[in-house]
């Protein structure tokens, strides 16, 4: 009998203590009595050590300037699905942060939800407005309205292995600059065992769900991909078909190792299994650390052929935006201004090894470090195009990426695949 009672008492204790302690542990503090102090919520990209420490430094230096404004910085997981989940929850419960770092795709998708405050009135009064890169403004526009400002360009740079070029008897200082040359070179660099590619000439993704790999080819050929003014898809033109055809041909040549473009570190290049790849600066840096002996070079932005105009590459951006529902918009802008100040921009460049966004820092940037890489970076940033800022970016990605998969697997011709994608997409967005 005693044992039974002990059990029931213990159980009751567990329940009661559990409820009490969990209710008592509320981490939020009331901010009722200090009316002077304003607290801003700032959500940044990344929960890793580097990002966290950087955000902390920014908050500290901001507090030196404005002791009355408190900033609470919170890191978001960089997995895009996690981020969307978190932001949806915040939208529904009115807990959106005052200032938020977003990626380019979110300018369109979340911009269409009206998440962000138009920034023009604030930029008007900003002393340094002339100093910011044009692309940093350009990227942050949703249907003509400035809803975000670019802080961190993230170009996808076509990187190649000079040492591998030499080994294959190719001139490492004369890399391919047109599609035809790329195709040729890639074929020459590929190593196979039977049918299996063991060293890829070029990293061609099997899955490219955000179109980072595909879109530049379409744009280079002259397609708009999306007509942003009309808000319509525009990827069934001749140029887009030609681009997709070209990618399909390359894929059929069996010169690549299948991988997923989204998973940057899964690129065969990063594991030393490919000669040419489009990589983010972070991937290049990681590769350098793991392969100190490999010599790297950077392709010029690829043109369709000798006679065609300049090519287009992909340049993603991380941006900073203000919530439309913020209760402290003036203070939020002060913090944004701080995040765009030269000190912070430079710190960001050094911390993440990324390009700058301020004109006045250009010389300082070029002077330090690897000149070849830096000029490639600036070139890619200047000629880069990011994602279209339309509300249906997710749907566009979904259908066009399937069209791409159908073409590289030889299921459909480029024309058929794109037409089908267009039909499905149009049907869906017309609702």
């Amino acid at each position: 009998m005693k044992g039974k009672r002990t059990i029931s008492v213990a159980m009751a204790a567990i329940v009661v203590s559990g409820l009490l302690s969990s209710c008592g542990q509320s981490q939020e503090e009331k901010t009722g009595d200090e009316k002077e102090q304003v607290t801003l919520q700032y959500w940044y990209q990344g929960t890793d050590q580097l990002s966290t420490e950087f955000a902390q430094r920014c908050v500290e230096s901001f507090n030196e300037k404005y002791p009355d404004i408190k900033v609470e910085a919170t890191g978001m997981s960089t997995t895009i699905s996690d981020q969307e989940t978190k932001l949806n929850a915040a939208t529904l419960s009115d807990t959106y942060p005052d200032v938020i770092a977003v990626v380019l795709a979110e300018v369109g998708s979340r911009g269409s939800l009206g998440d962000f405050e138009p920034l023009e009135p604030y930029i008007e009064k900003w002393k340094e407005k002339e100093d910011l890169f044009d692309s940093a403004y350009e990227m942050g526009k949703y249907q003509g309205t400035q809803v975000a400002l670019g802080v961190l360009p993230n170009p996808q740079i076509y990187t190649y292995r000079k040492d591998v070029f030499k080994e294959a008897g190719l001139d490492p200082e004369d890399p391919p600059s047109t599609w035809a040359e790329l195709k040729d070179t890639a074929e020459k660099l590929t190593k196979r065992e039977g049918d299996k590619v063991v060293f890829a000439g070029l990293d061609i993704p099997s899955i490219d769900s955000s179109l980072v790999f595909i879109e530049p080819y379409m744009r280079t050929a002259g397609s708009k991909v999306v007509d942003e003014e009309k808000g319509e898809p525009a990827f069934t033109d001749e140029a887009a078909v030609e681009a997709l055809n070209f990618l399909g041909e390359m894929a059929q040549m069996n010169i690549f190792i299948p991988h997923d473009q989204q998973k940057g570190e899964e690129h065969p290049f990063v594991n030393g299994n490919a000669a040419i790849s489009n990589l983010s600066t972070a991937n290049i840096q990681a590769f350098r650390a793991n392969y100190p002996d490999a010599e790297l070079g950077y392709l010029p932005i690829l043109k369709k052929d000798e006679n065609s105009g300049d090519g287009v590459c992909f340049c993603g951006y991380q941006l900073i935006a203000m919530s439309g529902s913020s209760k402290h918009k003036d203070e939020a802008w002060l913090f944004m201004e701080h995040m765009m100040s030269n000190d912070v921009v430079w710190d960001r460049t050094e911390t993440f090894n990324t390009p700058i966004v301020k004109k006045s820092l250009e010389d300082k940037y070029m002077e330090s470090g690897d000149k070849e890489l830096k000029s490639a970076i600036l070139n890619y940033v200047e000629n880069g195009k990011g994602k279209a800022t339309v509300p249906w970016v997710s749907e566009l990605n979904k259908y066009v990426s399937v069209a791409y998969e159908e073409v590289i697997n030889g299921k459909k011709t480029a024309q058929e695949a794109l037409n089908d994608a267009n039909d499905l997409l149009t049907k869906e967005i017309s609702k």
Binding site: S81, E84, T85, N88, T91, L92, S109, L113, G114, G194, D195, K196, V197, V198, S206, I207, S209, I257, P258, H259, D260, Q262, K263, E266, P268, N273, W392, S394, E395, K398, S401, V402, E405, E406, N409, K411, L424, K431
Partner: protein, 294 residues
């Protein structure tokens, strides 16, 4: 019905279920009702209006959704079937005699069930790697040429299923093992005296006696297989060519990345209905129809 007559009316039953039911109503029933309500609207985080059954009509012509239904059904059938068979065989092997290290083997087979999928999905990605992945190395040793597993539309769903089986096998095995341990030894002794061989014993004693455990496994296994999402999201994101997209993956894509909350809700209602029907059928036929009075 028998039970109802034998014990009278126990009103205090409500008191017993109340603590659980309060949580259930708040955190499960309420969201489900919200969800059913939303499925008749065009809610997109920004605006909401009533659209009647439009979402359900859209669903009928949504080819992507039906692909996901097909994929999910394939996933459910294959994972549940193979995990059950393997789980049962392992359970039989691990108790057939005082085999050395039973506990140790059991622990190992159970291990995949306690791991979270975040890191494990990455390990599986490495294993499925088309060039240097372990699985290709092994298949090449067996004389089968290297495959592109996750990047081949014919193989990708199979690759995801294999991982699902790996994950669930320990859970199934443990349950079967327990079920086997529960079969009284005298039944086998009696059968032996009657001259039954091993196969007859298995057919006439083991299988029927395992029925209740099988029933429990069927219900919980089918439900969790229908809800497969995590490994798909991490490993293939539904590709290539939508060959691995599942119902929950569709719900997720629609509601969370395209903000079509209303439409996602309608898909969720559909999923709930299928699973519910499966479960009812299970109760009616899987349990000899004598469990529930509904």
């Amino acid at each position: 019905m028998r039970r109802t007559k034998r014990i009278g009316d126990d009103r205090c039953g409500y008191v017993f279920i109340a603590p659980y039911y309060i949580f259930f109503v708040m955190f499960v029933l309420f969201p489900i009702l919200v969800n059913i309500g939303l499925s008749f609207t065009d809610f997109n985080l920004k605006s909401i209006s009533f659209v009647g059954v439009e979402n359900y009509v859209t669903m009928i012509s949504d080819s992507l959704f039906w692909i996901s239904v097909k994929n999910t059904l394939i996933y459910v059938v294959f994972t549940v079937f193979f995990t059950m068979v393997l789980g049962l065989l392992l359970a039989l092997a691990l108790r057939s005699a005082a085999l050395w290290g039973t506990k140790f083997f059991r622990g190992i087979i159970y291990m995949p069930y306690v791991t979270s999928m975040v890191a494990m999905s990455m390990v599986w990605l490495w294993m499925y790697d088309p060039t240097h992945g372990v699985i290709n190395v092994l298949t090449e040793m067996l004389g089968i040429s290297a495959q592109q597993w996750l990047y081949d539309e014919k193989l990708a769903l199979g690759a995801v299923i294999v991982m699902g089986i790996w994950k669930g096998i320990g859970y199934y095995m443990t349950l079967f093992l327990a079920g086997l341990n529960n079969i009284p030894a005298y039944l086998y002794e009696a059968a032996k005296i009657d001259g039954a061989n091993a196969i007859q014993c298995f057919k006439h004693i083991t299988l029927p006696m395992l029925k209740p455990v099988t029933f429990f496994i069927m219900i919980t296994g089918v439900i969790s297989a229908f809800n497969v999402f995590e490994q798909v999201n991490v490993m293939t994101s539904g590709g290539p060519m939508n060959s691995t997209t599942t119902i929950v993956h569709q719900i997720y894509t629609r509601a969370f990345t395209e903000y079509k909350m209303g439409y996602g809700a309608a898909e969720a209602v559909f999923l709930l209905l299928i699973v519910f029907v499966f479960t009812i059928l299970n109760f009616k036929y899987g349990n000899q129809g004598q469990d529930l009075d509904i």
